[in-house]
């Protein structure tokens, strides 16, 4: 779990006990249990449809993983998604074509993210405090603009983004493909480039990273900007999927996204974590939710179960380690 040191000697037990392997085993368990419980789970179209429900949040989980890895956090992602969706909706109301709508949404997210980044890096306020404030501010702007109304008219070229399959067989929803593509890019950047090593170094020890010549503030600024941009993308996809935007869109997403990232094995203290872990966490949580709802388990009970899963999954390895040490 440590961040910086060079590769330790290869051990099979070490490989089997990594968090990613445990998550993969959990994913297999989720698939096996669900297909035993209901015949409708292992249906290609059902599984494809299940991805609609988590792809947007999953897209935000990728930059959030990098933020938490560098000891930052962003609680305003849901509000940025809502504001971006609203921007797309306003552009649609003005009769703009689909590409302008997408650009309006992405641009709004990027600007919001840059505001977060500036406040954190320039003014030096902790990011959890800044983003509690901007969360209210961004959501407040959406509330002021829309009031109790909603934007409902979107051109078909735009709604297709959130409702169509990229190819007919296997049925891959466009938003899911976007998530997979972004996950591949984030994996490469974090685990195969110098930038990725620098981010891990910042998370492991920001002061040492600064003295090593890493531009800590600049990298953090751009992480917040990218988080805003991808929250904007998630907001655009959400608006396209539902074809309607209200000020309370994407409400509470921040906690879902952070839960996904932490469950994916990214250390909240910074310096440790992997993108494949986060992707596996997205799948475990997403398909577990989908399977339980197929079994008619109420959504609120699923929330309880996911909360328990989060705590137990973090507590169990610590308890096991303590018991082993006590012997």
């Amino acid at each position: 779990m440590s961040g910086i040191p060079d590769r330790p000697p290869f051990r099979l037990a070490g490989l089997l006990l990594t968090w990613e392997v445990i998550l993969a085993a959990l994913l297999v368990a989720v698939f096996v249990l669900n297909s035993l419980a209901t015949p409708y789970f292992l249906d290609t179209y059902n599984l494809a449809d299940a991805t609609w429900n988590f792809s947007e949040k999953a897209i935000i989980a990728l930059p959030m993983a990098l933020l938490i890895l560098t000891r930052e956090i962003d609680l305003s992602v849901g509000a940025m998604a809502a504001l971006s969706a609203m921007a797309a909706g306003l552009a649609a109301a003005a009769g703009m074509p689909a590409p302008v709508l997408v650009a309006a949404g992405l641009g709004t997210g990027l600007v919001c993210g840059m505001v977060n980044g500036l406040l954190v890096t320039r003014v030096g306020v902790p990011s959890i405090v800044v983003t509690i404030g901007t969360m209210s501010l961004f959501r407040g702007v959406a509330l002021v603009t829309l009031g109790d109304g909603a934007l409902t008219s979107f051109p078909p070229g735009f709604t297709a983004l959130g409702q169509s399959y990229l190819i007919a067989w296997p049925p891959l929803p466009l938003s899911f493909v976007i998530f997979l593509g972004l996950a591949a890019i984030f994996t490469l950047v974090l685990h195969r480039t110098a930038t990725g090593r620098r981010l891990t170094a910042i998370g492991a020890n920001p002061t040492a990273a600064l003295f090593s010549g890493i531009e800590v503030a600049r990298m953090r600024f751009w992480l917040f900007a990218i988080t805003g941009l991808l929250s904007g993308l998630a907001g655009v996809l959400l608006a396209a999927r539902f074809g309607v935007v209200r000020p309370n869109a994407a409400l509470g997403w921040e906690l879902d996204v952070i839960t996904t990232v932490i469950f994916g094995g990214v250390a909240i203290a910074g310096g440790a974590g992997s993108i494949p872990g986060v992707v596996l966490s997205v799948f475990v949580l997403g398909f577990a939710t989908f399977g339980l709802s197929l079994l008619n388990v109420p959504g609120i009970v699923i929330t309880v179960l996911l909360g328990l899963l989060l705590i137990v999954s973090i507590a169990a390895p610590i308890l096991i380690r303590q018991m082993v040490r006590a012997r």
Partner: protein, 325 residues
């Protein structure tokens, strides 16, 4: 001016007074005693929860579960009020405090005993406690007519113009202030948050302190749960949804550091009062309720930015760029 920057509580108190004067100049009705007492009534819960959160923040922790704890405990005591005998109000208050303390103790055990990060535990607890409300209450709400007379009358009773939640908030704040400034355990909270390593070498048990603060924070949230449900006459799953962030904002405005070791009860109370005045002033100034959230956000940002500016003067900085990190 520099004196004001060094005495944050005084600066905040002056700012609140100026704000009340400013609002009163625009809408004189706001400055009447009745209206100002109403502000206190409305802010009582924020006072109590901010005091509890301050103790947690001092130890470098965070408790995101307070609003969910409040709602769950409120539902549980409302069910007791519905199906049990009509007990006197203080009995419910103590019962709610004990339930809340148990919910907090579980978190304290996971955080202090196992060393799981507070944000992880309280996020999980938030989801679990909120969900439990629906599971236990069967998705129904408990209405005022079902709760019992003495259940409600205690939380709605008035003494010298102020409702009982305000008086309880005053007692909680006084007790917490004495605890933090005059007792060895209270100082240990600052020690653990200010410098965990040094605290350990001084023989302060981080584990015990953490179990204690989450239990106290839970007890306060639980007591607020009873008072909230009894005052507004309804218990359901979405009570105080998202309120945990308002509580943290109040603490931060009051100068409690998220990084631990810095903060005071008077600061947290003034931070809560500041937010309470802002939220209550907007309707009297005929500002649309849709503006409320945006203005609250802008005010929080402004306050923390000014705080950061004031704090930047403290201490010797060997490497100025390191400040931002």
């Amino acid at each position: 001016m520099s004196w004001l920057l060094r005495h944050r509580e005084a600066a905040l108190a002056i700012l609140i007074a100026l704000m009340i004067a400013g609002v009163a100049a625009y809408a004189p009705a706001f400055a009447t005693p009745g209206s100002l007492l109403g502000v206190l009534d409305d802010t009582a819960f924020l006072f109590m929860l901010a005091v509890g959160q301050t103790m947690v923040l001092l130890t470098r922790g965070i408790d995101l579960s307070v609003a969910a704890n409040l709602a769950l405990t409120g539902m549980l005591v409302a069910l007791v009020g519905q199906y049990g005998p009509d007990l006197p109000g203080p009995v419910y208050l103590v019962l709610a405090g004990i339930i809340g303390a148990c919910l907090g103790l579980v978190m304290g055990g996971l955080i202090g005993g196992l060393g799981i990060p507070p944000i992880v535990v309280s996020l999980g607890a938030l989801a679990i406690y909120r969900g439990m409300i629906v599971v236990i209450g069967g998705g129904d709400q408990v209405n005022a007519s079902e709760m019992g007379i003495s259940f409600q009358s205690f939380a709605q009773a008035k003494l010298v113009g102020l409702s009982s939640p305000v008086w309880i908030a005053v007692l909680v704040a006084l007790a917490a202030h004495v605890f933090l400034t005059r007792t060895q355990t209270g100082r240990a909270l600052y020690a653990v948050g200010g410098n965990p390593v040094a605290a350990r070498y001084c023989g302060v048990s981080r584990e015990r302190v953490e179990v204690l603060v989450y239990t106290l924070s839970g007890a306060i949230a639980g007591a607020c749960g009873y008072l909230w449900v009894a005052r507004y006459g309804v218990a359901y799953s979405e009570i105080a949804s998202g309120y945990e962030l308002t509580v943290i904002a109040a603490c931060v405005i009051g100068g409690v550091s998220i990084g631990g070791g810095v903060g005071s009860v008077p600061g947290a109370v003034l931070g809560a009062l500041f937010l309470g005045v802002v939220v209550n002033a907007l309707p009297t100034m005929q500002v649309s309720p849709f503006w409320q959230m945006g203005i609250a956000g802008a005010v929080i940002l402004l306050a923390v930015v000014l705080n950061a500016r004031a704090e930047a003067r403290h201490g010797k900085l060997i490497l100025p760029e390191a400040r931002a990190q």
